[in-house]
């Protein structure tokens, strides 16, 4: 195995600058938030491990589906949904980790032409904007989860698994992502401080 090969994203317009796979605590994190930052790193690591298992599980489930259908001639009814649950769960749960390494790509064309100070304000605004959207999404996921749980909703297939399972994963993932964004917003706003002092 060659560790030198750079891993690059699929079909994207711009490579995320310096986005490796390692989380770190930003130097501008206020001391009172450091325990939270450390905790998030640990949680994200655990969640990534779960995501890896879910990814492998879905691949194995789909493979077994092909094998059982053609070797044992039995019908397959639950495999597709089970792997959907695994993959949707992995996607939402891992979104906080991806945000932690700034792996959600955006159009960075503007950042190179803005002066340093304006750019910092831009980054802070973007982070707060993302937080607002994700917090809203997390809140609505929670109400959706509550509804599905209280009404005992199931999917419409013959297997009919309860819908609270994927909704729970979505809600947890979005909550974690919101906490991650809240931390990053505080850090980005914190970074505005020295430049303000310079201006004063």
């Amino acid at each position: 195995m060659n560790a030198d090969l750079p891993h690059v994203p699929v079909g994207l317009a711009a490579a995320p600058a310096g986005a490796g796979l390692h989380q770190h605590i930003d130097a501008a994190t206020p001391p009172w938030l450091r325990p939270l930052a450390r905790a998030l790193i640990t949680v994200n690591r655990g969640v990534m491990a779960l995501g890896m298992l879910a990814l492998l599980a879905s691949a194995l489930i789909l493979t077994s589906s092909v094998v059982t259908r053609y070797l044992l001639h039995t019908s397959t009814d639950w495999q597709d949904e089970a792997s959907v649950f695994c993959l949707v769960g992995a996607t939402f749960l891992c979104s906080a980790f991806v945000q932690a390494i700034r792996g959600h790509i955006g159009i960075e064309a503007v950042s190179s032409i803005l002066p340093e100070r304006v750019n910092r304000v831009r980054i802070a605004l973007v982070d707060v904007g993302c937080l607002a959207f994700c917090a809203f999404f997390a809140w609505k996921s929670c109400t959706l989860l509550h509804e599905a749980w209280a009404e005992g909703q199931t999917t419409s297939s013959s297997w009919a698994p309860p819908l609270w399972i994927p909704y729970l994963l979505m809600a947890l993932g979005m909550l974690l992502l919101s906490v991650q964004l809240a931390l990053q917003s505080v850090v980005s706003v914190n970074k505005l401080r020295p430049s303000l002092r310079e201006g004063a």
């Binding site: 195995m1 060659n2 090969l5 750079p6 891993h7 690059v8 994203p9 699929v10 079909g11 994207l12 317009a13 711009a14 490579a15 796979l21 990534m48 995501g51 890896m52 990814l55 492998l56 691949a59 194995l60 489930i61 789909l62 493979t63 589906s65 092909v66 053609y70 597709d80 959907v84 993959l87 949707v88 992995a90 996607t91 891992c94 979104s95 980790f97 991806v98 390494i101 792996g103 959600h104 790509i105 955006g106 159009i107 064309a109 503007v110 950042s111 831009r122 980054i123 605004l125 973007v126 904007g129 993302c130 607002a132 959207f133 994700c134 999404f137 609505k140 996921s141 994927p166 979505m170």
Partner: protein
């Protein structure tokens, strides 16, 4: 508020939020939610998350993480270099054979891994230094790899095509097959150009040698013995068998596309475990985490793009724009050219996934009304988006090449790439003139559709 004002407002807000640098996924979602809050009934906000979940929980879309897993399993091993070395040994005798070997290796790797940048980095990291060592000009070497890498989104299994299949409601199997003919055509053209450019550089080196006595590695002949050639095969054949096995599973009717993705990724993991000894947790974990990083980012963009298009269609913006385009009564080919031009411009800034999902509801109805086959258009659009991967200002493959060979000047890389962009646009023209290059194979394998043209 009139439709025009609403449409313009929607467009401007989208542009402003996107160019603020907000991640594409969150900007699309935020625009959607914002317009829902202002222009749609309050109850629609309650179902935002349900909408996103229902759109995302499609098993076809969710084959994307598994195809990425298959690609990154193969991409993280030396498989790329081995494939390249074998191609080189077998084609070393042909003039320009090294360049052609690189094009072929890119095409095969792309077909296995399904990703353009991964192809560039896997083949390029061995191919570019070797081509330069053998006297190829740096720009030419970079151009071959950058262009060869773009084949990743055209040859099956391509993430871009999966999205197009979902957005355009076309058969994924048919789209995959339709990509093969144009893919082979592009490989052929790239190889011809590589041979032609090699001859030019060879003659220039010869003239320099005759005039100044300055030797060039281009003038040195290279030979591989038959035993050397055959000793390369055992490491490459399993991957070629994987490639054909997956295709047979899909087109023999043994597996659905998503099952193929699951099966393919398990087989790829098994192969790298057997051939390269990559099976320990610490070897496999980086492959899985890179896959998750990649697929999470993509699936978020996809989920939020679908929310974005849902709002656009609820507010009748997409339908009005589509009707407006139809009402222009442009001639068929002007319409196609205009749409492709817009795709090129969007390709400057956006990844193919968002271009497809954002524009499908606007562009596809007029194209259908004009009598175009949407499977065929998917192929043409994909080739056009491929050029976006290699042309400035943000061609991703250029960054990958800068990463592999930081000492090649950007200007050289771009000069080396331009002929390939021209060849790709030429291919678009050829496929427009002869649509059967794309549609013949799916018609043959899956039975003809009633083509409107």
């Amino acid at each position: 508020m009139s439709m025009l004002v609403l449409g313009l407002l929607f467009g401007v807000v989208t542009l402003v939020i996107m160019f603020s640098g907000m991640p594409i996924a969150f900007s699309l979602g935020a625009v959607g939610v914002l317009f829902m809050a202002v222009f749609m009934p309050a109850s629609s906000l309650d179902t935002v998350t349900q909408n996103v979940y229902e759109e995302m929980s499609s098993i076809t879309l969710l084959s994307i993480p598994l195809f990425i897993l298959k690609g990154s399993a193969i991409g993280r091993t030396r498989a790329g270099q081995d494939l390249y070395a074998a191609m080189h040994a077998w084609m070393g005798r042909i003039p320009g054979g090294l360049g052609i070997a690189n094009v072929f290796a890119c095409a095969l790797f792309a077909a296995m891994a399904g990703s353009s940048p991964a192809t560039c980095s896997a083949i390029g990291s061995a191919g570019i230094p070797e081509m330069r060592r053998r006297g190829y000009s740096p720009g030419f070497a970079a151009g071959i790899i950058a262009a060869g890498g773009t084949l990743g989104i055209l040859l099956p299994p391509s993430v871009t095509m999966i999205l197009y299949a979902v957005a355009a409601e076309q058969s994924l199997g048919r789209l995959f097959l339709a990509g093969i003919g144009p893919g082979v055509l592009l490989v052929g053209l790239f190889a011809l150009w590589a041979a032609f450019q090699y001859q030019r550089e060879y003659r220039a080196a010869r003239r320099r040698f005759d005039a100044t006595g300055q030797a060039s590695p281009l003038l040195v002949d290279e030979h591989f013995t038959m035993s050397q050639r055959f000793s390369m095969l055992p490491r490459v054949l399993p991957f070629l068998i994987l490639l054909t096995g997956v295709m047979v599973a899909l087109y023999g009717g043994y597996a659905t596309p998503s099952e193929t993705a699951g099966l393919g990724s398990i087989l790829a993991l098994a192969l790298i475990a057997v051939i390269y000894g990559v099976w320990r947790v610490r070897d496999v974990a980086p492959i899985l985490s890179a896959t998750l990083k990649e697929s999470t980012m993509l699936m978020f963009i996809i989920g939020m793009s679908l929310l974005f298009s849902y709002v656009m269609s609820y507010l009748h913006i997409s339908q009005s724009m589509a009707q407006w385009i139809v009402a222009l009564a442009l001639s068929k080919w002007v319409l196609l050219a205009a749409i492709l031009l817009m795709v090129i411009v969007m390709g400057f800034f956006l990844p193919p996934v968002s271009i497809i999902l954002m524009t499908a509801p606007i562009f596809l109805p007029p194209l259908k009304a004009a009598g175009f086959d949407l499977v065929w258009f998917g192929i043409v659009m994909t080739i056009v988006m491929e050029t976006g991967l290699i042309h400035p200002p943000v061609g991703l493959n250029i960054f990958v090449i800068k990463n592999i060979a930081p000492d090649i000047a950007l200007g050289d890389i771009i000069r080396g790439i331009i002929p390939f962009v021209v060849l790709m646009l030429l291919t678009v023209v050829v496929i427009s003139a002869f649509p059967s290059i794309a549609t013949a194979l799916p018609d043959l394998v899956m039975g003809p559709l009633s083509h409107p043209t």
